[in-house]
């Protein structure tokens, strides 16, 4: 089947390229347009945050990117090839930790490589390194119910990295955490990203979270989500918590916040 945007047409260097993708759910009450059409490019090694109101289709977008859902229109490309099924080179972190309760931390982290059938003893060492990286080296043998929510989420992040994906997809990974843990996790994720140099698509509805971590923020409208604004965040890296007080940071947050209040008459 000829595609209107063959791999050669994807922008050079872009890891991820979305071309006019849209998704409509068919429900018992008829078709429900959940997303798009929208186009987004994510450059190699870029950290892109997707910001949008609740129900605008952010999780739907992530499912398309991970190959779990097929868009009703348009195409998504990863590394030049179309995403038409779940792919090995993508790591996913859901909003909830989503760990296997009957496996300990190390086995949870190793789960992707076991399912992919590429397990080798080398991955065991890699898992231990990742567990150490997220600060859980004392807990490799513990079971999820013995960990706090924040620790579980860190396990999920380590699991998302075990098979060395080119692209890391994160769906509001810190939404369930308290403010303190959240801040700590944001710093940790930034450090991980700087160390590993992956492309990241980070879904959130927290404006400061997006502004703090991202190179670029894609703002979506309410359902069906379309791109209404793209914000380039020029803040110097690495960013510490003090950069949240920088006038530039405050200005970005302000600009983004105004975008939502204008859209939403309830807040006007």
């Amino acid at each position: 089947m000829p595609t209107p945007y063959p791999p050669t047409k994807t922008p050079s260097g872009a890891t991820l390229s979305l071309r006019e993708i849209a998704l409509t759910y068919s429900t018992s009450r008829g078709p429900l347009p959940a997303l798009g059409p929208l186009s987004i490019d994510v450059e190699n090694g870029e950290f892109v945050a997707v910001l949008g109101p609740s129900g605008c289709g952010k999780s739907t977008l992530l499912k398309i990117l991970s190959g779990l859902l097929q868009p009703s229109a348009g195409q998504a490309f990863l590394g030049g090839t179309i995403i038409d099924k779940p792919r090995q080179d993508v790591g996913i972190v859901f909003q909830q930790p989503t760990l296997l309760p009957w496996k300990n931390v190390r086995d949870n982290v190793l789960m992707p490589v076991r399912v992919l059938g590429i397990y080798s003893p080398a991955y065991r060492k890699k898992a231990d390194e990742l567990i150490e990286m997220v600060g859980l080296d004392q807990f490799a043998q513990h079971y999820p119910h013995e960990l706090s929510g924040g620790m579980q989420q860190r396990v999920a992040i380590a699991r998302g990295l075990i098979h060395e994906p080119k692209l890391l997809l994160m769906d509001e990974p810190f939404a369930a955490l308290d403010a303190l843990t959240r801040e700590q996790m944001i710093l940790e994720l930034q450090a991980i990203w700087e160390r590993t140099g992956k492309s990241v698509v980070f879904i959130t509805h927290s404006i400061p979270e997006a502004a703090f971590m991202a190179d670029r923020i894609v703002v979506l409208s309410s359902r069906p989500g379309r791109v209404i604004h793209i914000e380039n965040v020029g803040l110097a890296r690495p960013r510490g918590l003090e950069s949240m007080a920088a006038p530039e940071f405050v200005a970005i947050c302000d600009r983004l916040r105004r975008l939502f209040t204008v859209k939403d008459p309830a807040h006007a």
């Binding site: 090995q88 859901f94 009957w102 992919l116």
Partner: protein
């Protein structure tokens, strides 16, 4: 901790002692004839005759073998069918409503029919037990499979897991604690089913001994059988709960009791 354990053991023991004393003195005080209510001493003698004298062992064996065979058969059929129903939507639509409808039928009412079909020996008892075990086990397993975290399934799909892999690596372990809840209900009902089948018609088993003892007014023996049955019930329930703690160790609800 220690004080707690002491209270957990001493308190029920004290209540039991009080109960036996009340039992003993009421018989004397109200002059209850021995063929209606036996003295605790007579029950103890019957127990001794049955367990140490060995009179009851063949019947205990008959009841427990029917219990175990029927339980294993009924529960495994329930688990297999529940797995199929949760995997195949069509089967779910076809079977699940029927099972739920049939669940409300009092299965013990079918005992005479089962005896007509399967005879007076072990088979009819096993069938009765299996039938009675099936429903709670099936319904709990289906609920367990349904309540599996969809994100976990998505996660497995994202890594290209096959349907079989998802079934055995995600759905089954997720359903385990609910399945065990069903197994705990089933074991209690299973004993009931075995005794009912024996009461209605059988030449062996504790239910049969109870039945035969009513004929010659041996109430002490009836009491002894009930005590043995209670012991079998407690032991088998504890066994299932122990298995649950071993196998579904991550589940925090292991200590909750189930109301049937």
């Amino acid at each position: 901790m220690r004080e707690n354990a002491l209270r957990n053991i001493l308190l029920p023991l004290g209540v039991t002692a009080l109960f036996i004393a009340a039992w003993h003195y009421s018989i004397i005080y109200f002059k209850v004839p021995n063929y209606l209510v036996p003295t605790p001493w007579a029950v103890l003698l019957s127990l001794k005759q049955g367990l140490i004298g060995g009179v009851l062992w063949p019947d205990i064996w008959a009841t427990t073998s029917a219990l175990v065979l029927g339980y294993v058969a009924g529960c495994s059929m329930a688990l297999v069918l529940a797995t199929l129903v949760s995997e195949f939507q069509l089967l779910n639509r076809a079977i699940y409503p029927l099972v739920v409808a049939f669940q409300s039928v009092p299965k013990v009412a079918l005992a005479p029919l089962i005896i007509v079909w399967f005879g007076f020996e072990l088979q009819s008892k096993v069938v009765m037990v299996a039938l009675i075990c099936f429903f709670p086990c099936f319904v709990n397993a289906v609920v367990g499979f349904r309540s599996c975290n969809p994100n976990l399934i998505d996660l497995y799909r994202a890594f290209g897991a096959s349907r079989m892999q998802i079934l055995f690596s995600v759905k089954w372990p997720s359903a385990l604690s609910t399945i065990f809840a069903g197994l705990e209900i089933s074991i209690v009902l299973a004993l009931l089913g075995a005794v009912v089948a024996e009461l209605v018609a059988s030449r062996r088993g504790l239910g049969h001994v109870i039945e035969a003892s009513t004929v010659d007014f041996n109430v002490a023996m009836i009491f002894a059988c009930v005590i043995v049955l209670a012991a079998i019930g407690v032991i088998s329930t504890q066994l299932i709960m122990w298995l649950r703690r071993r196998i579904a160790f991550w589940d925090h609800q292991t200590t909750t009791t189930i109301v049937t």
